[in-house]
């Protein structure tokens, strides 16, 4: 399996550790998060497997090209628009979550506009990069950041104040029926493969999933999901975490480096996840902007032979992001993410697999026609 594909998937997985996901998981703690997560992992692995196989039939093509070639237009355009919006919102969530975290933990006196502006310059550059280069960039950042994340988690698992009894209690809930919210939000974590919608353009020889690759992914998913859910519980207690806004940040703030230059580990934690968050946001918005521009390509909007469609979209993206971030509250964000995970995500996945199957059928029938 291609190592760059694994980076795409794992970055999506890791980014969600700090975000709303742990809170949703913990909220479902009494009603079957454990089974929900287990179902999400198996569903995620199966979906990853099928998506990679389906996309490998169209080497070097993104979803827009596939749909335009093999499906009718009345079908392709709404599907593409829906997906573009879904990916935009996913990136927007990341932006909002990190803006709130920065506002609360790092620079409480800065205005929201300034914080968003910090992102705006770098993310705009990142989104407009070539697809291939985004993949290279994410590899570099992944390799720079992951040692810190592993360090923080090891530090957490080895900490004497981690109470394993809480974790055991949480695991005892395995006999509950799976919780739908926990299932979908865990599914969002493990479904980074869907980014292939655009990123498949860079993979000209996407190989079929190998046993080794799938095994690595399974283990990684299990470890990350388990850590996301269980480690905060081990520190904060099974019952008392329900009102915590950011369970993972609280958890990492319970860990202390006695001899380090930086004593509170939470800053290392926020820093490394912020880096991954920015990469994930760039990936999401890159997908979104290319899906949008596949539907609306404004040929006349030119400046010195340079098409301005993408810059125009990115300006739109930021205007919407600025206004919404200013208005959104943490609680509102939590509810929105829950709704997104519960309704938009399953619909998006069904549409994606369905349209790919349809395209596959269209491709094989076209191939037969050509053969005649």
């Amino acid at each position: 399996m291609n190592r760059f594909l694994i980076y795409l998937i794992l970055i999506n997985t890791l980014t969600n550790m700090v975000s709303i996901t742990p809170r949703i998981l913990i909220a479902g703690g009494n009603t079957g998060t454990v089974l929900g997560m287990a179902f999400a992992i198996s569903t995620g692995i199966v979906l990853t497997y099928f998506l990679v196989i389906l996309f490998s039939r169209f080497p070097g093509q993104g979803l827009p090209e596939i749909l335009k070639a093999y499906t009718p237009k009345w079908f392709a355009v709404p599907v593409l628009l829906f997906m573009a919006a879904a990916w935009y919102v996913a990136g927007l969530f990341t932006l909002m979550i990190y803006t709130f975290i920065i506002l609360r933990f790092l620079t409480p006196e800065m205005s929201i506009y300034t914080i968003v502006l910090t992102f705006a310059l770098v993310v705009t550059y990142g989104v407009l990069m070539a697809t291939r280069n985004i993949i290279y960039m994410s590899e570099v950042i992944f390799i720079l950041v992951v040692p810190f994340i592993v360090f923080v988690q090891m530090k957490g698992y080895l900490d004497p104040s981690l109470n394993w009894d809480y974790i055991r209690i949480a695991l005892m809930q395995v006999n509950q029926l799976p919780d739908y919210g926990a299932f979908t939000s865990s599914l969002f974590i493990v479904i980074g493969t869907a980014n292939l919608v655009i990123f498949n353009r860079a993979f000209t020889t996407l190989k079929k999933p190998t046993l080794k690759g799938m095994a690595i992914l399974t283990v990684a998913f299990m470890y990350i999901l388990a850590t996301t859910y269980l480690l905060p519980i081990g520190f904060g207690g099974f019952d008392s975490l329900e009102n915590a806004l950011y369970p993972w940040i609280m958890t990492s703030d319970s860990i202390r480096m006695k001899f380090g230059v930086v004593e509170r580990i939470v800053f290392i934690f926020i820093g490394s996840f912020l880096a991954l968050g920015v990469v994930s946001m760039i990936i999401h918005w890159h997908v979104s902007i290319h899906l949008f521009s596949s539907v609306f390509q404004l040929k006349r909007l030119k400046w010195k032979s340079y098409n301005l469609t993408l810059p125009l979209f990115i300006v739109f993206f930021w205007i919407v992001a600025m206004t919404l971030t200013k208005r959104m509250t943490v609680e509102g964000l939590y509810r929105t993410v829950e709704m997104y995970d519960d309704f938009v995500l399953p619909a998006m996945l069904i549409l994606l697999v369905g349209s790919l199957l349809l395209a596959k059928k269209g491709a094989s029938s076209k191939w037969r026609e050509n053969k005649k």
């Binding site: 291609n2 992102f119 280069n133 570099v140 993979f203 930086v262 004593e263 820093g271």
Partner: protein, 450 residues
């Protein structure tokens, strides 16, 4: 002159070179045998001419014998067209006419062909001698280290005023034909009136108007050249310059020193690690100081935060002015010690570094910790093995300081990511500039084959 006249080409040539005084157009004559010579005295090796041409002429029995003798000389070549001929003659060729045929003999007198010491990229082990200013000697030095039939040398006549000879070297088995074609195309389309050295040509090859990071490398080490030839890169040699250009070059090539190959694995691993830590230090440390003192002192452990704050007592301006002020003087100092004659540069460093540093802290213009940071930054900048990269890093450092001053710790992190993105988004003749080379170039992706 009684017998034969010189061919018309000779008169044409002498008309072109008139009224230069070092032009020699002379007939050789003995018992009805004739030969004609045309050359520029100051660039032709007189002894060699005497040995290989003039004396044999008088010893030969007939004109045919002499003609076939000349034809068999190793430095004889075809006479090119009239546009190329003056270039050849002014570079040290002798135009000859025997019987009715014309010959061109290369009898260059080269005075600048001694092999030079390596000065820019010194290593402890490895060859101590670099290249030469003469193009043939340089090619000889490279060929003597790379014994393979596939090593191809192509001469280029550039279109600038001086017609300086340029050659490209590559291993035809290993070099990528697409990149080769691109480089040839760029060399053919150079529209610059004058260039004289590797560094200058590199500047013209880079093309785009604003470049921060170099995409070609100037080197003087034969071992590095061979190392790059094996990796399929292309070498451009310029006459008169003891440096050659290597293309295409990516980020990691700048971080490699040839010494890495000469040490035991653990030692070279350690030095490589040291180098990357130095790179991160010199980019991040000044901005980190700004972020830690002006935005988030609570990140540091309490004792350290207090020490930093304590040393800043009395400093009358915010930390970013302090950093920019000190960095500015540090850059001035580096620049000055580079340009000054060696005898004076020691004094400059002492005055600048020691006296200014101490006095600045005593006058409470900077904190003592700032002085430590600046010196650490200066030292770690020198750890980067190739000079051009450390120049680029110096600029990046300032940009990062600006971004951090505006946006704080998050700005530092995002600015650094922006720097990585900028590198990843750059390409060097189609090769991605920053890409982690776990496996061979095109081994596993199929992404690069597009």
């Amino acid at each position: 002159m009684t017998g034969k006249q010189a061919p018309p080409l000779f008169n044409e040539m002498s008309a072109k070179f008139k009224p230069s005084d070092d032009i020699i157009q002379t007939p050789l004559q003995m018992k009805g045998q004739y030969a004609f010579l045309f050359y520029v005295k100051s660039v032709v090796d007189g002894d060699k001419l005497q040995q290989t041409v003039i004396r044999p002429f008088f010893e030969m029995a007939s004109e045919e014998d002499f003609a076939s003798y000349i034809q068999s000389l190793p430095n004889q070549s075809e006479v090119p067209d009239k546009n190329q001929l003056p270039i050849k003659i002014s570079a040290g060729s002798v135009l000859m006419a025997v019987e009715d045929s014309l010959f061109l003999l290369d009898l260059r007198l080269v005075k600048n062909n001694e092999v030079q010491e390596t000065t820019m990229e010194p290593t402890i082990h490895g060859p101590q001698k670099g290249l030469s200013e003469d193009i043939e000697t340089t090619i000889n030095l490279i060929r003597q280290r790379y014994h393979k039939a596939t090593l191809t040398v192509e001469n280029f006549a550039t279109s600038d005023v001086t017609n300086i000879p340029v050659a490209i070297l590559y291993d035809s088995d290993r070099a990528d034909p697409k990149i080769l074609a691109k480089i040839k195309d760029q060399l053919g389309n150079l529209n610059t009136p004058l260039f004289q050295s590797g560094g200058e040509l590199q500047h013209f090859l880079n093309r785009s108007r604003f470049t921060l990071f170099p995409t070609t490398m100037v080197t003087e080490r034969p071992d590095r050249i061979v190392y790059n030839l094996v990796a399929g890169k292309i070498i451009i040699v310029i006459d008169g310059s003891p440096n050659v250009i290597v293309a295409p070059i990516v980020f990691f090539d700048f971080m490699a020193s040839m010494e890495d190959n000469y040490h035991v694995s653990v030692i070279s691993g350690f030095t490589i690690m040291l180098r990357y830590l130095g790179l991160f230090t010199c980019i991040l440390l000044p901005s980190l100081y700004i972020a830690m003192t002006s935005y988030n002192p609570e990140i540091l452990r309490i004792e350290l935060a207090l020490t930093v704050a304590g040393s800043r007592i009395g400093v009358p301006y915010p930390s970013f002015i302090e950093v920019i002020f000190m960095l500015f003087f540090m850059e001035l100092l580096t620049e000055a010690s580079m340009r000054l004659p060696k005898a004076v540069s020691g004094t400059a460093t002492t005055v600048g570094g020691l006296i200014l540093g101490t006095a600045a802290t005593e006058a409470a213009l900077t904190s003592t910790i700032m002085v430590i940071i600046i010196s650490a930054v200066a030292i770690s900048t020198f750890v980067i093995p190739i000079n051009e990269m450390s120049f680029a890093v110096r600029v990046v450092r300032f940009l990062l300081i600006i971004y951090t001053s505006l946006f704080g710790l998050v700005g530092l992190l995002l600015g650094f990511m922006g720097f990585i993105m900028f590198l990843a988004n750059k390409d060097s003749l189609g090769e991605p500039y920053l890409r982690i080379p776990w496996k061979g170039k095109n081994a596993e992706l199929g992404m690069d084959n597009k």
